[in-house]
Structure formats: C-alpha cells, structure tokens
C-alpha cells in the first residue's frame, strides 16, 4: 500500500471574478521512501497541491475535495482541524521556499526547535535541548550547542534552511514536502541541501515530495516526476524514462527551455511562447494546446486521455513524440 494516496484532488478558490480551479483532478501515489518531483511553471498548482495535502488551504475562500487522500491509512480530508494539527509536524512536515522568512525573527533557533519537540513529543527542558542539539548536528550546523541561543538573522540562508530541515524532521515524519526549498539559495548551497535531504530521508525511509521548477534539481534527486500544468498532472513517470522519452508537449517544452551543462549539444534554448491559461474559465481541450508546438489535428477535437508509454510512465497527450 502506498504511503500517500491522492485521488482526483480538486482545490478551488472563490474569487470576485469567479472560481479559480487551482488544482483540477490530481491523482498519484507515493511509496514509502520514494522521492517524487513535482515540476511545472508558476501557477501550475504545485504549491496548492502541497498545501492541500497538508490541509493548510484556508477554507473559505478555498475548497479542497478529493475522492481519496490518505496518508498511511489516515483519511486526511476527514480530519478535524485539531486532528490535522496533530498530524502536521509529526507525521508530515513541510519546508518552504524562503529560508530568510520561514523562521520567526524574534525567537531563538533553540526555542523554535524545542517548541515543535514539545508540541508533538512532549519533550521539554534539558531533554528537548539535547535533542535539538542532536538535530542541528545531523543537518550539519557546527557548534550546534552554542547555536541554540542564536537568532535567525545571525544565520546565512543555507544554515537557516538546514535549521528548517532539522525542525521539519524533528519528529520523524513519514512524509516531507519541500516547496521550492532550494530556489532561494545559490547553486553550491543548493547542492549541499539536496544532498542533505537525500541522505536524511534515505536513512529514515521518509517519503518526499520535492516541488521545483528546476528540472536539473529534480533529475538529480527524485525517483519519479509529476509534470503539472494548469492544475493537472500532464505527465508522470520514473525519472530516467521521463527525461529520455518526454511524451507530453509541455514536458518537451520545459526541457527545451532548460539549459544543460552536461550536454555537448550547442542547441539554442527555446522558450515556451504565450501564457498559462486562465484557471477561472473551463478548459475543454488540452490546457497546453494554445502554446503547444507539437499539436496534432486530434488535439482540436477532444481532450487528451492519459496514455501509457512505459512502466509507470504516462502522459495526457495525443501527439506521438516518441523517437
């Protein structure tokens, strides 16, 4: 049984101009210990998917529905707010994009770690502080003991993100969601943080949903990728499969617009023309059609259904892109 199972997740937001379908029927499974990448451009619904799973979508104006959304057998949508608070931080945790702002500036690092330990593991006083030191140690913060009394502004961006990871993993969650966790960091630090997450989650068998718009990062870290566009998963597959045989016009476009440092080709980068669709209006055909470079005649006639391209690899595309 998969650790996380999401079926037909829909998240809508009521606005003055109409209902925004931010997530529109997303389904996937996440196995234990698996690292799943969620890629797509801004507004494709990656973050809202994550927030929906965490039950952090404000309702109203938001509205989250799904045929099923279970974490380790627990029906996440059926939880009351108080029950959801118990699950958040202990069985699933999330880290955010901006490490400069995801720690409270007026509380010490130690306090922010021990607070969570106290909340979920009833650890207090000396025991909590010892555990906090251990945690900071594991994420590679030198002189951890002395750092407990430090404030976030005394840390660099990379160190803060390490602290966030320490806090997120403090109660050994089964699921870790990282929302653009390395986007705000420079490349060398990015690599360190990715290694850290990889190491810690492999050690503990934690499943990870890694949200990014950086295909390079996803390629180096994830086991499987979901490509999202306009609130839906348009292609999903094991990392190698998907990179070798992109089977959706959008995935192809994403790859064409990503610079590669390992390739020998001198090809030009091709941007994806146009803008993502307005999520208020219903989208009867393929949402990517207006921007697609590989569309076929059938695309104008009917919406694409998911097609199988390999083991665990499918795409909702009518064009035949396979070489």
């Amino acid at each position: 049984m998969p650790l996380l199972s999401v079926r037909n997740l829909k998240t809508r937001f009521a606005t003055d101009r109409g209902t925004v379908r931010a997530v529109n029927g997303v389904s996937f499974d996440l196995e234990e210990g698996e690292i799943l990448g969620l890629v797509g451009e801004s507004g494709s619904g990656k973050s809202v998917t994550a927030l929906s799973i965490m039950r952090l979508v404000p309702e109203p104006p938001g509205k989250v529905t799904a045929d099923a959304m279970t974490l380790d057998g627990t029906d996440l949508l059926g939880l009351s707010e108080a029950q959801a608070r118990e699950v958040r931080g202990s069985r699933m945790a999330m880290i955010f994009q901006d490490p400069m702002r995801s720690l409270n500036p007026v509380l010490t690092i130690g306090r922010q770690i021990t607070e969570v330990l106290h909340r979920h593991q009833k650890l207090a006083g000396a025991a909590a502080r010892r555990r906090a030191v251990e945690l900071l140690d594991t994420v590679g913060i030198p002189m951890a003991e002395k750092r407990l009394g430090a404030y976030p502004h005394q840390f660099s961006g990379g160190m803060r993100q390490r602290v966030m990871i320490a806090i997120a993993l403090s109660c050994n969650p089964r699921l870790l969601i990282a929302d653009e966790a390395t986007t705000a960091l420079d490349v060398t630090i990015q690599a360190q943080i990715i290694d850290l997450v990889k190491r810690l989650t492999r050690e503990r068998g934690t499943s990870v949903i890694w949200i990014s718009h950086d295909l390079g990062v996803v390629a180096g870290l994830c086991d499987r990728v979901n490509v999202m566009y306009a609130g839906t998963v348009v292609e999903s597959g094991p990392i190698r499969e998907l990179f070798h045989r992109p089977s959706h016009g959008y995935t192809l476009g994403l790859m064409g617009s990503t610079p590669r440092v390992d390739g020998t080709s001198t090809r030009r980068l091709t941007p994806i023309e146009g803008m993502p669709p307005n999520l208020i209006d219903p989208i009867p055909l393929c949402p990517f059609l207006p921007r697609c470079r590989v569309s076929v005649a059938a695309c104008q006639a009917r919406p694409p259904a998911p097609r199988q391209f390999g083991a665990g690899h499918w795409a909702s595309c009518l064009a035949d892109l396979a070489p």
Binding site: G89, V106, L107, K146, H153
Partner: protein
Amino acid sequence: MAVVQSPPPVAAPRIAGSLRLAARQFPRHRAAMVGLICLALICLAAALAPWVAPYDPIQIKLSAKLKPPSFEHWMGTDHFGRDVFSRLLYGGRTSLSVGLLVVGFAFVMGVPLGLASGYFGKRIDNLLMRLVDAFLTFPPLLLAVALVGLLGPDIQNVMLALGLVQAPVLARMVRGSTLAVREDVYVTAARALGAGPARIVLSHLLRNVMSPIVVQLTIVFAAAVVAEASLSFLGFGTQPPQPSWGRDMSEARRFLGDAPWMFLAPTGAIMLCVLSINFMGDGLRDALDPRAWRTRRTIGQAER
C-alpha cells in the same frame, strides 16, 4: 560539511529565554537607562510626597502668594501662597497614576482586541473594528468628557474614560501590524508544524507586533497626562484644591507673565516624564527586536 564529532553533551545547554535575553539587552541602551532612572526617581518622589514635601500642598497662605523661587520655597509659591514644589510632588501622585493606569488599561483592552481582529479576520474583524470605529468617530477629549459626565467626576472615572478612549486606537494599530505579520512565511511554517491558534497568536504574532505597541504606549502615557489636565481644567477629574500637574499647569496660565515658575514646574515635570518614557520605549523596542541588538560577543555566546 557535516559535523561528525559530537559527543553526547553531558549537560544540556541552557537556552536563555528570548525575554531574558531582551532584559539583558535593555541596560545597554544608554538613553533608555537614563529614562528609566529619571522616571523611577520621579515616581519615588511622588510616592514619598508626604514625607519629603516641605509644605502642605493645599495650605493657603495669602501673605506669601506669587513668591519667586527662594531657599524657603524652591520653586516659588502660587497665587494662594501654596508651595509649588510640594504641589508638584503631590500632583505627581495623581498624574503618574493616571498615566500608568491608562497605559495599562489600553494595553489590556486594546492588544487582545487587535490580535483577535487581525488573526481571526472576517466576521470577528468586522464586528470588532466597527466597534472601534464607533469610538474613533468622536473627538477623544469630547468622548472622555461624555464618559466622565456619565460616570461622575472622579479621578477613577477619568482613568477609566481615558483608557476607553485610548484602547480603540491601540486595537486598530495592533490589528494592522497583526495583519502584516500573519502573512509572513514563518506563520505558515509554524502551522505546517502543527502549531495551533494560541501558539501562533502568543509566540509568533504578539512577539512580532510588540515594537509598535511599545511605541504607541509611550504616546498614550503622554496623552493621558495631558488629557487629565484638560479634564481637570474643565472641572472633571481632580477637584481643586487637590493638586495635579495638569490642573496646576492650566491654573498657572493666568499668571504666566507674573509667576512663570508656577507654569514651568508642572510643565517641566510632564515633559521630563514623557521624555523618559519615550527613551524607555526606544530601548524597549530595540531590546525586543534581536536584529537591533548590539552584540559585543559573537554568535551563540549570548546564552551564557
């Protein structure tokens, strides 16, 4: 980069509470310390008035009226021959307690209202803020006069009225700051780690809106002392011949040309208090914001 050599610590290191660290920071702010000492001295003098005042503050002695400062009367005498210095000491009891109690009342009323409004939003926010708006539509002094008129002219009622006038101002300000802080990523991050409303409001929102609150409260104090004067002048609040800084100040107005000391003494006292409190507010604001700390030691050593 990973640090491997970490023997399990024998004794868990202590994390000094943020508030305790802030308390240690405060004395480093020189102006704030001067303010604190000044205000403490003034309060002490007012509290000890019956023992340190050289004369009875309401004893009339017409033969000695409007005398300039001398060894006998350090700050001169007023139009009834009363000793200005003694009246200053006794008046401080009224004025300072009005100022401090109004600050306390505004804090206790205004801050929870503002936090609730800003955090819960929507209907609660609407309800509370319309209430606040209703209070804010009246000119503050007029509202205070109306309230005192309703409750009866008495110094306790003056404090209550002034507190009721100031609380909505504070509530509105706290709400504004809360709305801004609420959207910060660390609040979402805290929620993602299972923090409930109480935790978020108390340890995240309140701590981060403290600075503007402190600044506002110093203003409230000054406004309260002056407003008490106005109310006393209008016949509410302190009744003659009881001394209060505000009362004495407005009475001295008539003798500004002949006996400026009568005016300068209470005015100076009010000014000194307000300045002291402003300085303290500055220091307090900096002490509550770790980013403004002047650290002489390096990272992490602060917990010693």
